[in-house]
């Protein structure tokens, strides 16, 4: 029987309410700090490293590349083009994938038949689709969207399916008892219940969409197809210009961080908060 007691006085003045604005700020400051630390590390390593400047460009020499690319507008227009394609393509992918996933979830035989194929399609590299897409659509944005969609759709389907699989059986019983039609069940119970898993799937789907886009943009490096970030990356490799490659990588990372911070993270936070959970390390207030 422990007679040692622990004073909890230290807990006393801690209010469970944390200020939200502060929290929001945190989620921006921390990544920015991380980036600064990583950049400094990179610069130091590039100074110390025995590798030639053209093989391992430091941040300064990469930054030196920037004005030129900004001046001829190619970087900004490439980002614009790619971002537009990725966002619109992703939206289309979500619109197509969601009903397919729901159909699969409700048609056991279809799911058994097509489900494994969907997972297999996820594994197929995007460039595999390029020849077929070109035959069908030639050198048009349709080709690029085809490759992007075939990359993103299977992943979103799988995300939603596993979200639905994880729905507690009791919710299904509830919806039956409440007399929900299939459609009502999907809209009022299944989709909201699967939401957290679905959003996790969407995040992966977005990654697939963007990566497939990069692969699709290698089809043509400018010309009749508008230049995208993927083309720019390939151009950097073709010209043995690692500064350009690094610059494009950083651009992609930046876009990725922004999409995460302004889109996925807030949605996820909202979903979890609605359900009385929280992302680890975030206050539940």
């Amino acid at each position: 029987m422990s007679s040692l007691t622990e004073s909890r006085t230290d807990l006393a003045p801690v209010r469970t309410i944390k200020l939200r604005p502060n929290n929001r700020l945190d989620s921006w400051v921390a990544p920015v700090l991380t980036v600064i630390v990583l950049l400094s590390l990179w610069q130091i390593i590039s100074w110390v490293s025995p590798l030639r400047e053209d093989l391992f460009p430091g941040p300064l020499s990469v930054a030196a590349k920037l004005p030129q690319l900004l001046a001829d507008g190619s970087l900004l227009s490439a980002i614009g083009n790619s971002l537009f394609r990725a966002v619109s393509g992703f939206a289309i992918a979500v619109i197509i994938a969601t009903p397919i996933a729901l159909l699969l979830a409700h048609q056991p035989l279809l799911r058994k038949g097509v489900g494994p194929l969907v997972s297999a399609m996820q594994v197929l590299p995007s460039i595999a689709w390029v020849p077929a897409a070109i035959i069908l659509f030639g050198l048009s944005d349709a080709t690029i969207y085809t490759v992007l969609l075939l990359g993103a759709i299977p992943s979103i389907i799988n995300g939603l399916l596993s979200g639905i699989d994880m729905i507690p059986a009791q919710y299904k019983a509830l919806s039956k008892v409440l007399g929900a039609s299939k459609w009502e069940h999907v809209m009022h119970i299944e989709l909201p219940a699967a939401m957290p898993g679905y959003v996790a799937g969407l995040r992966q789907g977005w990654a697939f969409a963007w990566r497939s886009l990069m692969a699709a943009e290698l089809i043509a490096v400018g010309g009749s197809l508008a230049l995208g970030v993927g083309s720019l990356l390939q151009r950097g490799r073709d010209l043995a210009d690692l500064s350009l490659v690094m610059l494009v990588i950083l651009t992609i990372l930046l876009v990725g961080v922004l999409i995460e911070l302004v889109f996925f993270a807030p949605i996820e936070r909202k979903l979890l908060r609605d359900r009385g959970m929280s992302r680890t390390g975030e206050s539940n207030g």
Binding site: Q170, A173, V177, L178, H188, A193, L271, R275, G276
Partner: protein, 247 residues
Amino acid sequence: MGVLLNEVSLSYPGTGLVIDRLSTEIDDGEFVAVLGASGCGKSSLLNMIAGLLAPSSGWLEVPKDGAAFMFQDANLLPWLTASQNVDLALKLAGKPVQEREERVEELLNLVQLGHASDKKPHELSGGMRQRVALARALAQDRQVLLMDEPFAALDAITRDMLHEQLRSLWGQTGKTIIFVTHNVREAIRLSGRILVLSSHPGRILETRRITDDLRNNPTQAAALADELTTILRKEQRKHELTDRITH
């Protein structure tokens, strides 16, 4: 006709018979209480009546529009507020919006949760969740109402009040109510008939009709409560013996 069970048996994969050839007829507008030891199959029985489980053999008849069901655990949807949870039942019953709003408020007030209507389930206490579930079950407005230990998490006072509400609701609407409880006196106070289930397997051990006279006579009621408790105790003791032999 209310609910008819004919030689209904149930077993889960890997279990023996949970319910064994249970037959009973529950009239339209009857108020029936089901008593039985923990794990004897009361929830399973309600699940079958609600159409959530198919019997392993036998058959049952229920009104075509199914039954309203208050689950043993509150089973609220965590992303909806208390009022949205209740509202969902009305929405899925096809009620128009204006009517719904009013009805939700009415129901939440009935279970004394008018002040908590905008809270999410995780912000409610256990008893409050149960009351939201009760409001939702009442919102469904079906001829048959199944309730699985509806008042278990409530304090005596709230419980008393809800007893009254439920009795008056039953009087007004003539619903068929089947409810599971562990509280013998609650069963006597509310129901018109008490079914006592045996366990392993679940059969009807005893059926008692409760008249209003008996209900309102404290001594008689107490005597019946004692009697039922004794029946339950005897049944339990039998099992303890078998248990000790088999294990």
